[in-house]
Amino acid sequence: MMGGSMLEIKGLSCGYGKRVVLHGVSFGIKRGAFVGIIGPNGSGKTTLLRAINGLLRPCKGTIFLEGRGIHQMARRELAQKVAVVTQSPEAAPPFSVEEFVLLGRVPHWGRFQLLETEGDLTIAEQAMVLTGIASLQERRMGELSGGERQLAFLARALAQQPQLLLLDEPTAHLDIGHQVQIMDLLRQLNREQSLTIVVVLHDLTLAGLYCDRLILLSEGRLHRLGPPQAVLREEVIEEVYRTVVAVVETPLQAKTAIVPVPGGD
């Protein structure tokens, strides 16, 4: 099924109560894609992610996952296919890292299952090795640094063994080393396990470096959709973000960086 449709969004409008945030957004994401969602604050990035993972019910339009409407699926079934890494909450969960990662196996359990199987332990172990936190498994979640905590959230999502991984600003508040570590890992998962990845990013340069398609939202509407070089253009960004930027060449092959131009210069 490589290259088939993973996600199909048609005429999606949704919001919170009476306040509509997204207006008639339509796009499709192919299996194995690495898609970035970008846009200014309040443009509806997180809302779009919440609609895709079923947390928000659309007021109009439909969302199809592998050809099936997500609201026709049971919660548990959706959680077997879609894993979500949200912006980490401040309160630390009262668990060790291993216990926390094992919670990712819960969607695959039977209704009356109370104990994890050997298979669950192996999968959680693999997820921790992959994210490089195997040595932290006995530590409490509250003792981790910001970067380690984000890796633990990613490991839990991977333990879900999803087809589609949604991430909301996974690199926010992280230093450049951890940012690259997380993004490299996502690219590795995308290439080696053909995991479909949809990630909300604020950092336009990171988005351009890693994603093969970008969705640019502006005021709740789909402004532009395409490969990074088509979306990350000076005139497009200046229009949407209302600020002057320079798109500069980097030493990396065919990759550009977006540099803000300070006002008054």
């Binding site: 959706l78 894993a83 979500v84 309160a91 668990f95 819960v106 109370l114 104990l115």
Partner: protein
């Protein structure tokens, strides 16, 4: 969960079960008539007809069984509510259950309802009062099928205040002999002459233990927050309603049989969380056992501390529980 922590779990359950048996045997022995342990064991097997046997089986054993049912029931109701609200200060009474039950009892006593319903009148009116308050809290905090937890907590606390104000009002205008009845009921006691009520309470409390265990994994997911639990496939809205109703039902039954016995549902879950960790699969059974042990011990203390005067068990649980709580907090830095 590694194998070594599974055996740690088993160890905790076995240790607390053994402790429960020891405490129960101790409680059988002490009292106005002291019966040494060897004699208790002999009497248990072959002592039918002796006066000691009657003391053991007609007076002390029912109290112990009721202590087990109510102590365990309040403790797991506390675990469920603290887990659901992710707030260590929530306890079974926070949401107004005790206030509702006390109000029901107070109204029955002053209106003379005791006469027409007989022995079971106080438990029934307590349960109706608790159920009434719970229904009001539930309806007021649910909008469009979704239960908002912050709203639930606020409305519960307000209902508690309203109920206790109404009780004060009733007490202010009531006759002295009725006043005594209300005060004694509010202070709580494990004295219960009706053995079928004790049997029903045991059944409800043990049933509650089993049902709550089935939701322990969902509760673990829930301790990450509502949104995270949703992403892990937990039907969040349904779970909140089930937990609320289950915890309320267990608490309502406990309160209507024994009156208001405070602190068990607050202190025990907190203490056990410090000892066994935040995993509800072990937290629920160990809290049940610890709650039972705690209440049986407190009741024994209430019986013998100032014998022949029996102290209200709610006073003992408050004193011992409060001291224990502060001790645990100051030792572990209060991590939740």
């Amino acid at each position: 969960m590694k194998l070594n922590s599974r055996s740690l779990w088993l160890g905790w359950v076995l240790f607390l079960t053994a402790l429960l048996v020891i405490v129960a045997l101790f409680s059988l022995g002490v009292g106005a008539v002291h019966i040494p342990l060897q004699k208790v064991l002999i009497l248990l097997t072959k002592g039918k007809g002796t006066p000691e046997y009657t003391i053991l089986f007609a007076m002390r054993l029912p109290r112990i069984l009721l202590g087990l049912a109510v102590g365990g029931g309040l403790a797991i109701a506390g675990v469920m509510l603290q887990g659901m609200f992710r707030n260590p200060l929530v306890e079974p009474y926070t949401l107004g259950i005790s206030g509702g039950a006390a109000l029901g009892v107070a109204v029955t006593i002053v209106t003379g309802g005791v006469g027409c319903l007989g022995l079971a009148s106080l438990p029934i009116s307590g349960f109706l009062g608790a159920a009434g308050i719970m229904a009001a809290v539930y309806c007021l905090s649910t909008r469009g099928g979704a239960m908002r937890l912050s709203r639930l907590l606020l409305i519960g606390v307000m209902m508690s205040f309203i109920a206790s104000s109404l009780i004060m009002l009733i007490m202010a205008i009531t006759r002295t002999e009725d006043l005594h009845g209300i005060i004694f009921w509010i202070m709580g006691s494990l004295e219960e002459p009706d053995t079928s009520l004790i049997r029903a309470m045991l059944f409800i409390s043990l049933g509650g233990l089993i049902v709550s265990l089935l939701f322990s994994v969902d509760l673990n997911a829930f301790s990450l927050g509502e949104e995270e639990a949703f992403h892990l496939g937990v039907p969040v809205e349904r779970l909140k309603k089930i937990l609320f109703l289950l915890a309320s039902f267990i608490t309502g039954c406990c309160v209507s049989v024994t009156g208001i016995i405070g602190f068990v549902g607050l202190v025990i879950p907190h203490l056990m969380r410090l000892l066994v960790g935040g995993d509800h699969r072990i937290l629920i059974p160990t809290s049940y056992l610890a709650g039972a042990i705690f209440l049986i011990l407190c009741d024994t203390l209430a019986r013998v501390a100032m014998a022949p005067v029996e102290l209200p068990v709610g006073v003992i649980t408050g004193l011992v529980g409060g001291a224990l709580f502060i001790y645990a907090l100051s030792r572990r830095g209060g991590s939740f």
